[in-house]
């Protein structure tokens, strides 16, 4: 019973420095099984670095990352993937010489221990996943024929095909228009509905408010605020981090005038 009380993923004081700069500096938070957690923050706040630390792309300089109670700090990326942590890249990295279907199949051929099928079954899984993200009609096409939103879908499809328990999404909505964002939100909801925990890095506030029950704000490598998205986004420190001190002051005085006191 104690295992169910345990968070799925736990970060304790995770630190990553580049030269003298602490890109991620003592970050501590937990991800509960089955939730959609948003991570927001201005440019350079360390969001992508944090994702790289979790997925093993970066080796952390300090702190501990625990998956289902066991430390995965310093683990190689492919071993993290096999534990059931999938991820996407902000700048998409498709396998250019493969078709859309083959790209997704690579996820199912390797991926978590729940995946790892032979080629024939992997292609079946690829077809299911492509249907889930809405790329079924383009399965046979080369990646070069895909639009940017479709390439982002493919990035998600590949990660989902690894059968992850936790999916780390790095700005999958960046660069999309409003209609495309709505479609992408639908896709993330569909993936979440299959029982996958989602950790979402986003710049687009509408996405965070629309889909996350909980959000964490990162600034200069620190956790600035944590809580419900609507509450967090009204937090003065968060506004200051995004829009600067002066804007925060103006907002404070405006709010002061608005209130009937």
């Amino acid at each position: 019973m104690s295992t169910t009380a345990e968070p799925q993923l736990e970060l304790r004081g995770v630190t990553k420095r580049f030269g003298g700069v602490g890109a991620v500096d003592g970050v501590t938070f937990q991800v509960e099984r089955g939730e959609i957690l948003g991570i927001i923050g201005p440019n350079g706040a360390g969001k992508t670095t944090l994702l790289n630390c979790i997925s093993g792309v970066h080796r952390v300089d300090g702190g501990d990352i625990r998956w289902e109670g066991r430390s995965i700090t310093g683990m190689a990326p492919h071993r993290v993937a096999r534990l059931g942590i999938g991820r996407t890249f902000q700048i998409v990295r498709p396998f250019g010489s493969m078709t859309v279907r083959e790209n997704a199949a690579v996820g199912a051929l390797f991926g978590s221990s729940a995946a790892r099928r032979g080629p024939k079954q992997a292609f079946e899984i690829a077809d299911q996943v492509l249907e889930l993200v809405g790329l079924k009609a383009k399965a046979g096409q080369p990646v070069s024929a895909l639009t940017i939103p479709d390439r982002k879908r493919l990035e998600v499809a590949r990660a989902v095909a690894t059968r992850p328990q936790l999916l780390l999404l790095d700005e999958v909505m960046a660069g999309l228009n409003n209609v495309e964002i709505d479609e992408a939100l639908e896709m993330v909801r569909a993936v979440h509905a299959t029982g996958v925990t989602v950790l979402l890095i986003e710049h687009v506030m509408r996405v965070i408010v629309g889909i996350c029950r909980r959000a964490i704000v990162l600034d200069f490598g620190h956790v600035l605020a944590e809580g419900e998205p609507e509450v967090v986004l009204r937090d003065e420190r968060v506004i200051k981090a995004y829009l600067g001190e002066r804007y925060a002051k103006r907002l404070r005085t405006e709010r002061g005038q608005d209130s009937p006191s």
Partner: protein
């Protein structure tokens, strides 16, 4: 769409039929040198000279196909694969000449030792990418040859030194025929291995590494193990060719077991034929090796090159090969295999498109 698919299928069938006929002729023609064929007055299509060239051609089919596994499928431009050829040659050579092992028992150790060596140097080397890996692997290729020639023990060269290593002649009837078919067997293994790799999980992992190594890793591909595996597999096949070569040639030294120009030739063959494909490197090896022999003046059919004296032929051959490399890389980036099977046709627009794709 349907019409193109139809014509593609037709082209493909034609290509397969023609390929099968040519391969059958190349494989069966040597049999006319057998006593039985001679006494039956079958027209002779083969002499000793033919075997030598044909065996060389097939040897390069093995090496180019093997290079394709690390260079074409995995995308790591290995420039020192001749080290594996030499290690294979010296493994069999030493076992036969010094330990008096029978040839067929010594031969399997050539690929095994070459693969072990590749795994050993691959672990540090394959951490490098792009040009760094290419240069480092070239260094290894050169260094192994120098080591083999210069290692002494108690004042005696261990591997025969500068005077090389002589092997006893392998007692078998129709020696030329035997080694030609043995080399063909090695080529068949190399092609079959490539065919299997491209359909397996291993192959998909290798292609994923070539296309984007970091993306492959986060999808669960053990990139280090896969790269070393591909390197060792290429080394094993190249070592097998070397092992056969040493007994076939009876004499090995640094010059013929570690020729630096083989490094460039096997890469050029794979590029010319089409990297990452099953038959491309083999096709490239046949075309290029015949061209090399032709330019060198050692083919039965030969023409006098205008303005070139006989002594200058090998040098002119090198120049022509260099120019060919440039032209191939710029204009036929996917190799001549692209023109077979009806995928594309060689035309001016094809060359123009290639030029646009390959220029910055």
């Amino acid at each position: 769409m349907i019409a193109t698919a139809d014509s593609q299928r037709r082209w493909r069938r034609l290509f397969l039929i023609v390929g099968a006929i040519v391969a059958a002729y190349a494989l069966l023609a040597p049999l006319t040198s057998l006593d039985a064929a001679q006494s039956a007055n079958v027209p002779l299509l083969a002499d000793k000279f033919w075997f030598r060239i044909a065996t060389y051609v097939v040897m390069f089919v093995v090496m180019a196909t093997a290079w394709n596994i690390i260079g074409g499928i995995t995308g790591y431009a290995a420039f020192g694969n001749v080290a594996f050829f030499g290690i294979g040659a010296y493994t069999t050579g030493m076992l036969i000449a010094k330990a008096k092992w029978p040839f067929l028992v010594a031969l399997p150790l050539a690929p095994i030792l070459a693969a072990l060596f590749a795994a050993l140097v691959g672990l540090p080397l394959l951490r490098l990418r792009g040009h760094y890996f290419a240069v480092a692997s070239l260094g290894v290729g050169v260094a192994v040859g120098e080591l083999v020639q210069n290692i002494d023990y108690n004042g005696q060269p261990v591997f025969g030194g500068a005077s090389g290593l002589f092997l006893p002649i392998y007692a078998v009837g129709h020696r030329g025929l035997f080694f030609f078919y043995l080399m063909c067997g090695a080529a068949a293994i190399a092609i079959a291995v490539t065919w299997w790799v491209l359909r397996s999980r291993f192959g998909y992992g290798l292609i994923a590494i070539r296309e984007n190594e970091e993306a492959a890793a986060v999808l669960g591909v053990n990139t280090t193990a896969y790269k070393v595996g591909a390197f060792a597999l290429a080394a094993a096949l190249t070592g097998l060719a070397g092992g056969i070569f040493s007994q076939w040639n009876v004499f090995i030294n640094q010059d013929n077991a570690f020729p630096i120009e083989y490094n460039v030739q096997m890469i050029l063959m794979a590029l010319l034929g089409g990297t990452g494909t099953v038959f491309g490197p083999a096709a490239g090896a046949v075309l290029l090796q015949l061209l090399i022999q032709f330019l060198g003046g050692s083919l039965p059919i030969s023409i006098d090159l205008p303005f070139v004296s006989t002594e200058a032929r090998p040098i002119v051959a090198q120049v022509i090969l260099g120019l060919l490399l440039v032209v191939v890389v710029i204009f036929v980036p996917r190799g001549v295999i692209d023109f077979f099977g009806g995928r594309t046709r060689l035309s001016l627009s094809y060359l123009r498109r290639s030029l646009r794709d390959t220029s910055l």
